[in-house]
């Protein structure tokens, strides 16, 4: 029996709408649960005090600081490397077998799961280079992990800069590097910033690669060689070892809020970039 196409159309439209609503509501429900359960436990005291009794009481101040250190340092290393690579690929060379190999390398890095970064960081930085479980080992591991994101977004942003801006700069006698620093990079800045924000988001939410390189010490890291526990790792340990559900929810809320803020900034800058050149 053939179903009347018009009836089928109605049925499918209803079905698709329902499934789309269902999908979105699952995801919104996750956010809502975290907010409702965590809200009453997130106080200024929770944010600014030290954890006591493995995190059963007290706050998450050292974890917040560890997270900030890890993000800032890994981004500080990854940004020049990533943007430099993107400039090289777009401005300083033609498509050749070398650029193809470099692009393949970047794609491959992007596809490697975080636990493999954890394994590598553990054996290379922590053990072979004797850095131990430290902020430095964590930083270098996360730097490699976010590099592909920064390279790709920067490349896209640089490619989107109109050709005539570049031509005008060259015709005024500027060298290639002067053109890159004075014309291309300022125009591509919002796109590059998007990549940086997305990378920060990844560093904040990462657990597997961080726990085996930076360790999980609850103390406040005061040097590059100190271990530290980021918010994501702290949350994982609280939840996995069943230390305290209230603190776990509260940590999750701080974690999710930071990620949402970071992603909103990333999204906003990306749209400013798109609006500028289209």
């Amino acid at each position: 029996m053939r179903i009347n196409p018009r009836v089928a159309n109605r049925l499918v439209t209803a079905g698709l709408t329902f499934q789309a609503l269902f999908t979105v509501s699952i995801l919104i429900l996750i956010i809502v649960i975290i907010f409702v359960k965590g809200f009453s436990n997130v106080t200024t005291e929770f944010i600014f005090s030290y954890p006591e009794d493995m995190g059963r009481h007290g706050g998450i101040f050292p974890s917040i600081i560890s997270t900030i250190f890890l993000c800032l340092l890994s981004i500080a290393f990854a940004t020049p490397l990533g943007v430099g690579t993107a400039i090289y690929l777009t401005e300083y060379t033609r498509e050749s077998s070398l650029t193809r190999i470099i692009r393949f390398g970047v794609e491959s890095l992007a596809g490697i799961p975080s636990i493999i970064y954890g394994l590598f960081g553990f054996i290379f930085f922590v053990i072979k280079l004797k850095m131990g479980w430290s902020l430095l080992s964590g930083t270098l591991t996360i730097m490699i992990m976010v590099l592909p994101t920064i390279i790709r977004t920067s490349e896209e942003a640089i490619k989107a800069v109109p050709k005539n801006l570049k031509m005008v700069s060259f015709s005024l006698g500027a060298t290639k590097w002067e053109t890159v620093t004075r014309v291309i990079l300022p125009s591509a800045a919002p796109g590059i910033l998007t990549g940086i924000m997305l990378s920060i988001g990844r560093a904040v939410s990462e657990t597997a690669a961080v726990i085996f390189t930076m360790g999980s010490s609850l103390r406040l890291p005061t040097s590059l060689f100190d271990s530290g526990r980021t918010m994501a790792v702290h949350f994982y340990i609280l939840a996995r070892e069943g230390i305290s559900m209230e603190k776990a929810y509260a940590t999750a809320l701080v974690l999710v809020c930071s990620i949402l803020v970071i992603n909103v900034i990333a999204y906003y800058t990306m749209h400013r970039m798109i609006a500028k050149y289209s």
Partner: protein, 287 residues
């Protein structure tokens, strides 16, 4: 003066070349060190005893990870079966049915949700999904089903977002042509738009699979981590990734090497998935 400028340009070019080569160096280091640590064990105890071995007792000389390989595939497939249809429906709705306003609200919120840390999914899985399964179907709750559900939800934003992008690249003329010939909207979507976007949709599934098979912490939290092949969806299991993460902190000697061997197997699986995804994308360009 002019010479100084030119020298500086040359120096900068060399520096940027070095930067660009650093990605390759990192990739090389990652492979080199994981192979260096993990490969010797394959020769020592035999490849078949590792990838086809059933018993994992690394301190007693048994390094079989076959059940974990099977489990990794099972949870990935489970996640895809549960997540992919929903995500594709959501992407189709967004690109073909939703109004401009809905689109501008839903697309960014989906992208924001893609950033929720995976440990949060795992945690909510433990709190809500595991007890639900225990009460409704029996068993420990920590199971293949729970893991598939958590991973299925986790890959929703990834698949939706990439499928949506590929649906949006289908030219409007295709849709107009079909509608002009009297096809209903669903006929247009089903016969014209979805086939045209097929390779992008398949690539989004593969990327979703990549994310599911590589996920570690969320899986540890809900899978139960038992060392066997699950015979029903309600039995616990241990994946390749969780095997590494559960034991790395205290493993030494051959035990530690065995975790790197597990990593090698995982890397090979991921590489095969990426090759398949690339193949589909290339075929789209060629066709």
């Amino acid at each position: 003066m002019a010479n100084g400028r030119i020298n500086k340009e040359v120096a900068i070019k060399w520096l940027l070349t070095l930067f660009a080569l650093s990605s390759l160096l990192f990739l090389f280091l990652i492979f080199a060190f994981i192979l260096l640590e993990g490969l010797p064990l394959f020769f020592k105890v035999g490849t078949s005893n590792i990838i086809a071995g059933f018993r994992w007792a690394p301190t007693k000389g048994f390094f079989g990870i076959f059940p974990m390989i099977v489990s990794s595939f099972m949870v990935t497939l489970g996640a895809l079966v549960l997540g992919a249809p929903l995500a594709l429906a959501c992407a189709t709705y967004l690109s073909e049915y939703a109004g401009r306003r809905t689109k501008t609200i839903l697309k960014p919120s989906l992208e924001l949700l893609a950033g929720i840390p995976s440990v949060v999914y795992g945690f909510l899985g433990v709190i809500y999904i595991v007890p639900l399964i225990r009460e409704c179907f029996g068993g420990p709750g920590f199971s293949l089903l729970a893991t598939s559900v958590v991973l299925g939800i986790m890959i929703l934003p990834t698949i939706t977002s990439i499928s949506f992008d590929s649906l949006m690249t289908v030219p409007a003329a295709y849709r107009e042509g079909s509608l002009a010939m009297g096809a209903t909207q669903w006929q247009t979507v089903y016969r014209v738009v979805l086939p045209a976007a097929r390779s992008g949709i398949l690539a989004s599934f593969i990327l979703g699979m990549g994310r599911a098979i590589g996920e570690t912490m969320a899986v540890i939290m809900v899978a139960g981590n038992a060392l066997k092949i699950p015979l029903s969806p309600l039995e616990p299991l241990r994946t390749l990734t969780s095997n590494i993460a559960l034991e790395l902190a205290y493993a030494t000697g051959d035990h530690r090497s065995a975790l790197f061997s597990t990593g090698i197997v995982l890397l090979v699986i991921i590489m095969i998935l990426n090759l398949i995804a690339n193949f589909w994308v290339k075929r789209k360009v060629a066709g």
